[in-house]
């Protein structure tokens, strides 16, 4: 057949985010079809007790059936998201003046349980705050998230994957959003984007969803013991870290559109 040698070009952007010490050394690499990969030696892999995020990667438009799809990787945590919509909705679920947003989160192993239900609700509330549902009344927008691997900061990774998938599907939004997780350990040190080991040993784990226009707080989900000032400190650190995430979104999307 004619199209044997042609693959659908997918945009894979990998940006290594340096620590927020201000170095700002951002190197990008492109995945070609032959999967040639350049190893980047420096980077933020040694994570000191400062504020640093793990390695990010994002791939869009990788699934053929959903209207929009994205895969977001944060360190070793990886989530795949698919968005269907605006599509038909059952009469029992339709809302007369806006779109019905549904989020389905599937864990890596086993059946979805109560924890997944509660995360689905958090993600749905965040998406509802951002998606312009009034432009598509009596329709449904469904976000399906599949956990591919969980190594800490899962909720934040789900939020990021959902945002990229909604952008890929062309759902009208009033802003972008991102998720950032902070962990406070027993002596009050703040760690951004914790691994599962750091989350287990932490005294408190806080996840925030922030919007891209003014870094306002859209959703917060916290677990553990922390003081008021610590909450403000974590929020400020998350807002600073969200800048990196939004810059990464911008570069990833610019690369995608530069191919056409």
């Amino acid at each position: 057949m004619v199209t044997q040698g042609v693959r659908s070009a997918r945009c894979r952007a990998e940006v290594i985010i340096a620590a927020s010490r201000g170095v700002g050394a951002m190197e990008e690499e492109m995945h070609t079809d032959a999967k040639i990969r350049a190893e980047i030696g420096t980077g933020c892999s040694p994570r000191g007790p400062g504020c640093s995020l793990r390695h990010f990667a994002c791939e869009q438009n990788l699934l053929s059936r959903p209207d929009g799809s994205a895969s977001f990787l944060q360190g070793d945590t990886s989530v795949l998201a698919g968005v269907y919509g605006p599509a038909e909705v059952k009469v029992s679920k339709e809302i007369f003046n806006k779109a019905t947003l549904e989020v389905i989160l599937r864990p890596k192993i086993g059946l979805p349980g109560v924890a997944e239900k509660s995360r689905e609700r958090l993600i749905r509330n965040t998406c509802e705050a951002v998606v312009l549902g009034t432009l598509h009344p009596r329709t449904s927008i469904t976000v399906v998230l599949q956990v591919v691997s969980d190594a800490g900061s899962l909720l934040a990774c789900c939020l990021n994957a959902a945002c990229m998938a909604l952008v890929d599907a062309g759902v009208p939004m009033r802003a972008l959003f991102c998720g950032v997780t902070c962990a406070l350990d027993s002596d009050g040190t703040l760690v951004l984007d914790p691994t599962s080991k750091q989350e287990k040993e932490a005294r408190a784990v806080l996840t925030f969803a922030l919007d891209s226009v003014e870094r306002k707080l859209l959703m917060s989900s916290t677990k553990g013991l922390y003081s008021d000032s610590e909450l403000q400190q974590c929020l400020a650190a998350a807002q600073a870290a969200s800048q990196h995430v939004f810059r990464f979104y911008r570069e990833s999307l610019q690369r995608r559109y530069s191919k056409s």
Partner: protein, 275 residues
């Protein structure tokens, strides 16, 4: 703490609105605000640089622009709601600032009035057909909306047929309605699409690219084999050539066009023309 203060300054710098003119052709993200160009002051009839006296000294009037897909009006600014490249078209004649829109890549179709689409008949209920156009609701098509159809002379449309028609009613609050005649009552190419052929789906951006006035792809494809082709703005293409193999080759080429550069395409066409 110095941290939050310096960070706060950066936020404000980042969320500053940019003039729409400076962002043309660049990728814009949802949430960005764009400033509209301001109207230039017209000179008075005296010609000596007289300015018209305005009651509201502060505000300067802005040019009237049309807000296209992907943009929403937000006060006196434009809010970007979809990710894509910002485009602008100058007004043909008359006043006004033209049209601004965002060119985005999408797979899902949302019905728009006046669009020509290919639909599949899914149900026949009484006097109307329900046609699936790929949107959130099936569109309704009355049996009288065909050329030469009367109450006694019904058109021959069965469930599963392909229909090429245009929307007369398509907004977010009502069920979309389509017809197969134009405003003069003539079919003008619309109606039931014939037997055989292949219907396949592509992205909306590719359809717009193929239907652009100076698209070379269609000319090149036409030189390869004799073919019949129908483009629906809902991402559906119907293609028919002499043999099944040729039809499949054409379908594959059109699907792959999205991701190929023009050199790769020319290579493939020349290889096919030889064989």
């Amino acid at each position: 703490m110095a941290g939050p203060v310096s960070v706060a300054a950066e936020y404000l710098a980042g969320s500053r609105a940019r003039a729409a003119r400076t962002v043309l052709g660049q990728v814009v993200l949802p949430g960005e605000e764009l400033l509209l160009p301001e109207q230039e002051d017209a000179e008075g009839p005296g010609g000596a640089g007289e300015r018209p006296l305005s009651l509201n000294a502060g505000a300067r009037s802005r040019v009237r622009v049309v807000c296209g897909p992907g943009l929403r009006r937000c006060g006196d600014r434009l809010l970007v709601t979809k990710c894509g490249r910002l485009r602008h078209k100058e007004p043909g004649s008359g006043s006004g600032g033209g049209v601004y829109w965002v060119d985005s890549q999408q797979k899902r179709y949302v019905p728009v009035k006046g669009d020509h689409v290919i639909g599949i008949v899914t149900a026949k209920s009484g006097d109307i057909f329900k046609v699936d156009v790929g949107g959130s609701e099936p569109a309704s098509l009355s049996y009288l909306s065909f050329e030469g159809a009367t109450k006694r002379n019904r058109p021959n449309v069965q469930v599963g047929d392909l229909i090429y028609g245009q929307f007369v009613v398509a907004n977010k609050d009502m069920e979309p309605e389509m017809v197969c005649i134009d405003s003069c009552g003539r079919a003008n190419g619309m109606g039931v699409i014939g037997q055989d052929g292949l219907l396949f789906k592509v992205t909306l951006g590719l359809i717009r690219k193929l239907l652009a006035p100076d698209c070379e792809i269609i000319q090149e494809v036409g030189k390869l084999y004799p073919l019949e082709i129908v483009f629906g703005m809902n991402g559906r293409i119907w293609v028919k050539a002499k043999t099944i193999q040729q039809t499949l080759i054409l379908a594959n080429i059109l699907e792959a066009c999205e991701h190929m550069t023009s050199d790769q395409r020319k290579q493939i066409f020349s290889r096919l023309a030889e064989s």
